[in-house]
Symmetry: C2
Subunit: 221 residues, 2 copies
Amino acid sequence: MIYNSVDCVIFGFKDEKLKVLLIKRNNEPQKGLMALPGDFLDSEVSIYASAQNTLKELTSLENIYLEQIRAFGEIDRYPGKRVITISYYALINIEHYTPQAGYTAEKLEWCDIDSLPKLAFDHKEIIAIAHKRLKRRVRTEPIGFNLLPEKFSLTNLQQLYEAILQMELNKRNFRTKINQMKLLIDTGKKQENVAHKPAKLYRFDENIYEKLKEEGFYFNL
Amino acid sequence: MIYNSVDCVIFGFKDEKLKVLLIKRNNEPQKGLMALPGDFLDSEVSIYASAQNTLKELTSLENIYLEQIRAFGEIDRYPGKRVITISYYALINIEHYTPQAGYTAEKLEWCDIDSLPKLAFDHKEIIAIAHKRLKRRVRTEPIGFNLLPEKFSLTNLQQLYEAILQMELNKRNFRTKINQMKLLIDTGKKQENVAHKPAKLYRFDENIYEKLKEEGFYFNL
DNA sequence: TCAAAAGTGTTGCAGGTACACCCATGA
DNA sequence: TCATGGGTGTACCTGCAACACTTTTGA
């Protein structure tokens, strides 16, 4: 007998760090360890819909960026039975996240991508592969933006890319490249109560965003 | 009840064309249609091993390039039961391919990637996604070479990339870029019996090949 | 008036693009 | 000697990398 499950690597961005949403297992096997949110697959539900459900239960969010990573199918990846898991990764605006009833703060946690706790099963490997995929995708499609709030400064955007790609970027050149895309709209607003020149706040031009997503682009940072 | 299967998109290169190995179904459902080779998954076998087995049964080849694409899990993708398939793609040297006993020429066929027959299930979509993946991979890892015979000319190599990427490439620049990689070794041999200047034949430097594969590279064609 | 971060102008250089020409072979 | 495809030299030009300076705010 083979079981199928669906797991989600939910990425968020906060305090200049790339984060993953993890849940503490309260059932055997591996009770007490942190793990990716997920569930066994219902035979009446498509795998994509199953990932969407997991996401909605946890975060109450819908219509968010969600892409399959792949299936993980080593024989012994789950103790006791044969479970093949199909993993997805999601990009969410962490400000929109509100933990759902039933999930207490004790159980759910946003963990830094580069200081993860001990994880159940092969979830460490799954996160690593999700991150690798994200690093590539972010250069090819304008999806990184899904991680930001509606209004953000260019510095926010740069820090996001630096966190995802785990490398430093040159401020001047980063801004030049972003400008070339003509993807940002000046909201007219500025930062408030900061002890320095306040940064302009931008939002996306949804039309250009969709257009770039279709056409594909290469963001040579 | 959910069933799992593993399907393989086996790529080959012949007559300047990128090809896929397809098999005519001789069982219901969709008997008579062409389909990707594959099988239901045995609970004692890892998904990767299952793909390797399919490949070996069909082509008698081992140790070849094999990478998972992803799982396909729409509810109605397979008539009558819920079957989630996990797809792999393989790159083989078509000259090494010898159809195995039990598979007659009537049943197995190398089809052009851009003139595929009607296919069973969602296999057309799977091939399209495999091809898309190959297009990307071929620029990021030196894997395209798996599709060529041991000895090949620079023109062979260029035609391969043109077939995969479905675009024309400039001869002069293509050669310059290949040279920069220092990946090729002059075998000292040349084409024979051609009515023009015979092309030099090359083979790979396995060491550099492995090194590039690890490091990653970007082949900006 | 000072500290801190926002925001911009410019120049040199690497490397990609494009083009045209010569070479070796069989018929 | 001609047709065919193999093989190379180079000049232009785009566009990325690197750097330093000005601006605006709160304290």
